[in-house]
């Protein structure tokens, strides 16, 4: 759509800018402030320069949390995106079942995150939870409160349960936007299932898949509430992701300087990776 140049449009965006600026810029500057100062409490601050940044960037604890975070995000992306796509491709296109499927699938998205954590915490308990009891009954020795691998398994399964629906709904919306005529033309040409997917469905899904990957990347990188309720970062530090580590430093130990520096590094990593994903995917779309 060709748009008219109109500087007065700024008046329309002003309320949004003011509101978001109040919430984004003031707290962000506070964090920046923390990150370059030393404090011993009582609101006494002294200049610390880039000490905290150096400390964070060289800290093994930060590297470990970052590595866990990257691993977790990679695992859930590799599972959720293809799974969501497959489910969306197999969804009914019309009829009464469509609404039923969509409403039931959307349910996990509307449950408060701590309830999601609490729910899985109980569901996976080896003595009173259906999942934990079931796995032990089949013959696995499963106890997510003690075994790091089991904790990871539960965490990933919870995230798949919680968020795959988002991918399904996005892909489904993309599929529904393909006109019937395309499929009929493919049928006339005798195209196989794979050819239809590769040449008709996949190109149309590029935009929604970009959104799905971006949203899942950002949100899984920020995972906090569900994880802290499910495992509390444990056993040991096995599931201490970036947000959890940050909260431990900021609120647990009240080390505002390192916490501030870590916040900024963390935010910049998300921004950088999101931008990278976005440009890469948009570039492949242009080709």
């Amino acid at each position: 759509m060709n748009k008219v140049v109109n500087q007065r449009a700024w008046i329309f965006v002003l309320p949004v800018v003011l509101l978001v600026a109040f919430n984004a810029i003031i707290p962000l500057m506070t964090v920046v402030n923390f990150s370059v100062q030393e404090t011993f409490g009582d609101n006494v601050f002294s200049w610390a320069g880039l000490t905290w940044f150096e400390q964070v960037l060289h800290s093994e604890r930060f590297h470990a949390a970052l590595l866990r975070q990257l691993m977790f995000t990679a695992i859930i992306l590799v599972i959720e995106i293809p799974l969501g796509l497959v489910i969306a491709l197999n969804m009914p296109r019309k009829g009464p079942w469509v609404s039923v499927c969509l409403v039931l699938m959307a349910l996990p998205l509307l449950i408060p995150w701590n309830v999601v954590g609490a729910m899985w915490n109980i569901f996976a308990l080896p003595d009173i939870g259906l999942l934990g009891r079931g796995l032990n009954w089949i013959g696995f020795e499963y106890n997510y409160t003690r075994q790091p691998f089991a904790a990871w398994f539960t965490m990933v399964l919870m995230d798949v349960w919680h968020w795959t629906s988002l991918v399904v709904l996005l892909c489904y919306a993309g599929l529904m936007s393909i006109p019937d005529a395309y499929y009929q033309a493919a049928k006339v040409d005798g195209a196989r299932r794979w050819a239809v997917f590769r040449h008709i469905q996949l190109p149309k899904l590029k935009y929604v898949l970009t959104i799905a990957i971006l949203l899942r990347f950002m949100d899984s990188f920020m995972i906090y509430t569900e994880a802290i309720v499910l495992t509390g970062g444990g056993p040991g530090n096995a599931t201490t992701f970036l947000s959890i580590d940050l909260q431990k430093i900021a609120l647990g130990q009240f080390d505002l300087g390192p916490a501030g520096a870590m916040s900024i590094v963390y935010f910049l990593i998300i921004l950088l990776l999101s931008w990278l994903f976005y440009t890469l995917m948009m570039r492949s779309e242009e080709k």
Binding site: P15, N23, I87, M91, A106, I111, L130, L169, L251, A259
Partner: protein
């Protein structure tokens, strides 16, 4: 082929419902039954957990607090996002692309980063422990999202609609409120749904910005779990009740939900 097609979503839905069923099952059990035996159905069916929640003000007050800030947030986010989304979809102006991107970056800010500064900011302006503080804090991610969704819906409305109205002598605001807003009602519904959803499920900021007066239900639950032992049945019942507002809201937007999840752009 036809049969296998339906099987994939069916299995997935079963997987989605299992943990929810377990929560529901537990909410109708007595604490003794939960801890003492492993049963797939409640053997002594009880609604005591629910009665307790509906009769104790610290419990049902939590729901009211949560609903208050979620509703304020939804109304506020959509109200400020409407004119902004119109500006982005119809006009070009200095810095429009940068502004749009800057708004979206706020969606990428981890709440954990902002928790402490938010606490200081809202204490400084005297809003700490009010529903307004949480409603305002949640606009950080909901306003950008609402602008994004509404801009998508508005861009699909042909510009001729605006031009015809002006030719017919409508003033801008009369056109906007009488013609344009009803035209994109579906988009507004979807945007409101998303704001409701993200405000309802967020806990970290809501918990940080409240203590007693405006405590959200989700925070009430965590406190109960730690202070009075582990009353699992009560916790389960409270959890089940947090699913209901969401389910209720989905029902209203069920026909637009697929489109809405694609953020209006498909």
């Amino acid at each position: 082929m036809g049969r296998a097609r339906g099987l994939v979503p069916a299995v997935y839905i079963l997987f989605v419902l299992l943990p929810i069923y377990w929560l529901l099952n537990m909410s109708f059990k007595t604490t003794n039954e939960i801890l003492g035996s492993f049963t797939l159905f409640p053997s002594e069916f009880t609604v005591e957990n629910y009665t307790k929640i509906f009769s104790d003000p610290t419990w049902y007050g939590g729901y009211i607090n949560s609903l208050i800030y979620v509703v304020i947030n939804t109304v506020l986010s959509v109200a400020v996002a409407l004119p902004a989304a119109y500006a982005f979809s119809r006009y070009r102006f200095l810095g429009d692309k940068h502004l749009f991107f800057w708004l979206l970056t706020n969606r990428m800010a981890p709440p954990a980063v902002f928790a402490l500064p938010f606490l200081q900011l809202y204490s400084a302006v005297g809003l700490f422990d009010t529903p307004i503080a949480v409603a305002l804090a949640h606009t950080l991610f909901n306003v950008p999202l609402a602008v994004w969704i509404l801009e998508g819906f508005m861009s699909s409305v042909p510009k001729e609609l605006d031009e015809t109205a002006y030719v017919d002598g409508y003033s801008f605001w009369r056109f906007f409120l009488r013609i344009f807003v009803p035209t994109i009602a579906a988009g507004i519904g979807v945007a409101a749904f998303f704001c409701f959803m993200f405000s309802w499920v967020e806990l970290l900021l809501a918990k940080t910005l409240t203590s007693v007066e405006a405590k959200p239900i989700a925070a009430t639950m965590t406190r109960t779990a730690s202070t009075s032992g582990y009353e699992l049945g009560l916790l389960a019942a409270a959890g089940v009740l947090t699913i209901i507002p969401g389910a209720f809201v989905i029902y209203f937007v069920r026909n637009y939900i697929a489109k809405g999840f694609a953020l209006g752009r498909v």
